[in-house]
Symmetry: C2
Subunit: 417 residues, 2 copies
């Protein structure tokens, strides 16, 4: 069987099939699994790429029935039951009996694809290091320049989208400017940097209870972030953005406003929702194709409890495990598992060094206690023991010293890792 994509969904499916009587072939265009929820820490120079990424081969090294190929999938032939691809995929075709597509999502610009050049999103290691590059270079240029208007532009950072990524990014940028860089320059004061978070809806963290949205916005404001709610961005260009009829000149603009599923729906000729997510059956199989499954951010499903499964890492992992169970049951001839039900352990978002919001349904936390909880959860779920240690060390160090270890300006801003 073939699994395309080694994100949270694909990798958890592969691992859950260890010792099952199948050969599992994992295809990914990257050689590493990435802990995407912490990407914003790479973008803000708190962590190095290797701290939150693990080579897929390494993760599956001891799983005898699993093999990995680095390859770009370009389509699926349902008639011949083959995955089509190029580069590393041998002969351009790989046959499958069972297929799991877990190819994730990219950012969506709602019809303004030209904005991507000015307002990059945050999905890959390269995205994150490109944003880190822009951010750090803007401070360097501000230190050098004499023109006051341009200096203000260089010291203005706009984050578009008030979901967890946008909120966490805004908090981390604020701390980078207010603490880590504070005393490193001589002509500018990085604490004067203007950091603006723009959200089109009336509140940040729309999936959280309203009280926590308010708490998060207040925490951001305490860090000096301007939070602009109910205002949509109408223009992005090389100089900055336009929002609510107002022009904001900004050298660094980050897009955290929307996602679009990968191309799996078009590969399959399958029905999809507006965000491109494939509509799947209750067991994540494709309608009419019981051996083809779509999971994670690439699929949309209303679970057995009547709730829409959210596009978050825990949901993708649970889906991977569920599909593995479905396949195991079929291979063993045993009855299919109970219909999928997403188990929500809680929602978490952090705002800088000491604040976070946590929603467990029965319990809502904000402030320092939520932050500590957030730290433990994120370290616990980092996939590889070594990464956990490295991240803990980095965090402990920057917690004590306010410094950030990964403040490197390297390579070309548009192409790096």
């Amino acid at each position: 069987m073939v699994i395309v994509g080694a994100g949270f969904g694909g990798l958890s499916a592969a691992r859950a099939l260890a010792n099952a009587p199948v050969d599992v072939l994992v295809i990914d265009r990257r050689n590493h699994h990435l802990f995407q929820p912490l990407l914003y820490q790479i973008a803000t120079a708190g962590l190095s790429p290797a701290d939150i990424a693990a080579p897929i081969r390494g993760v599956l090294s001891s799983q005898k029935n699993a093999s990995v190929i680095l390859g770009e999938v370009t389509g699926i032939d349902l008639a011949t039951r083959e995955v089509l691809g190029h580069n590393a995929v041998r002969d351009g075709r790989v046959g499958f009996d069972y297929l799991i597509l877990a190819t994730g999502a990219r950012h969506a610009y709602f019809g303004h694809d030209d904005w991507e050049a000015y307002a990059p999103g945050l999905k890959t290691v390269e995205d994150a290091t490109a944003i880190r590059h822009r951010l750090l270079v803007a401070f360097e240029q501000a230190e050098m320049i004499d023109d006051e208007t341009e200096r203000r532009r260089l010291l203005t950072i706009v984050i578009i989208g008030g979901g967890p990524t946008g909120v966490e990014m805004a908090g981390a940028v604020a701390e980078l400017a207010r603490a880590s860089l504070a005393t490193d320059f001589r002509r500018i004061d990085p604490r004067q940097a203007r950091i603006i978070l723009i959200e089109a809806s009336p509140r940040v963290l729309a999936t959280f209870p309203e009280s926590l949205s308010t708490a998060a916005a207040q925490s951001l404001q305490k860090l000096g972030v301007e939070v602009r709610l109910g205002q949509a961005v109408t223009q992005c260009d090389a100089q900055g953005v336009e929002v609510g009829g107002e022009r904001i000149d900004a050298a660094t603009v980050v897009w955290a406003a929307g996602v679009q599923a990968s191309a799996a729906a078009s590969w399959l000729g399958a029905e999809a929702d507006r965000a491109g997510r494939v509509k799947v059956n209750a067991d994540f199989s494709l309608p009419g194709q019981p051996d083809v499954f779509v999971i994670g951010d690439t699929a949309t499903l209303t679970d057995a409890a009547g709730k829409v499964v959210p596009g978050v890492a825990p949901a993708a992992k649970q889906a991977g495990v569920h599909v593995a169970k479905v396949i195991r049951a079929r291979l063993n001839g045993s009855p299919a598992p109970a219909p999928f039900r997403y188990l929500n352990w809680g929602n978490l978002a952090t705002i800088g060094r000491r604040a976070a919001v946590a929603d467990f349904g029965w319990l809502r936390l904000h402030g320092t206690i939520a932050w500590w909880f957030w730290g433990f959860v994120h370290i616990f779920f980092l996939i590889d023991f070594r990464n956990r240690l490295a991240v803990m060390l980095n965090w402990a160090w920057s917690f004590v010293t306010f410094k950030r270890g990964a403040r490197l300006i390297t390579g070309n801003p548009d192409r790096q890792g």
Copy 2:
């Protein structure tokens, strides 16, 4: 005063001028100081770039008389006493009273500059991550391919140059293939990779005593490296290399064979040796220009003991401290310090996980004890406390597990960090 270059020489000069009655302006085209002796560990996925690089601003943050600008210097105007540059250098000109040039060296291809594309060297973070990319991708492609000849080419790694960089690189590549990657593939056995170290002279580590050269070559052979001595490379191309009339097809070729000083000599119109190093006075000043100093890999000097100062990090640091003393003495009107004398604490090179050679003049070590010594020395001299901890952690982890944490294939091989 102005210091161009924040390598070992420039940074040690800047720090040695703390509290001196001068404003010290440090100009570098990179925002980070790089611990170059460990670059090969980035190239072989043992460490992350941020582990061996420290932001220059951070290093000098608390030194009140120092400021830093990110800029590319393009020349020196000795008549107007200005440093010329572009980008971040304001108005393209910065005046100086004292000037220290510490701009380092690049690899030299001995008139075959076209070889650089096929046999990249190892001087910057981008160099190292580009080599890491080639190396890891070659194993991935070998896993995929059916053609046996091409697979052998993909699994052949050639390192040209048997100095410390070449020897350390060959040892690290051997361990990557024989240990870290050993069980990660299904169709190839990375332990079968062919690793060849080519040195034109009759022995590796030519600056060490002959007994240690022999010990180093034996340690490499024990790790499975083919050591070819007394053979010069006569051709590098996309398929591999030609050496001693023999063709060796290799997907990864690394150049560690020679260095060429930076352009400082031509900026100054100064006399230089064949490697482009400026011939300086006994106090590192430029003949006829007592306020202009050239140090580190950019200068050549025979010291007060009659020995040629070598192009190594400790010598550059000592030169930086010496020039700072010369300038302090002039500012204070006190007598000039005693002529420079390079204090050689010893030469070290490591071969893989457990072997090294160390030459202290009065004592020569090889094997495990030299390796431990090497580890302590390198960690001790890493410029920033946090980096020391991170490197120790990474090493401890890979020592115990044989794994390598930074095995990421990211971005474009030619442009990344």
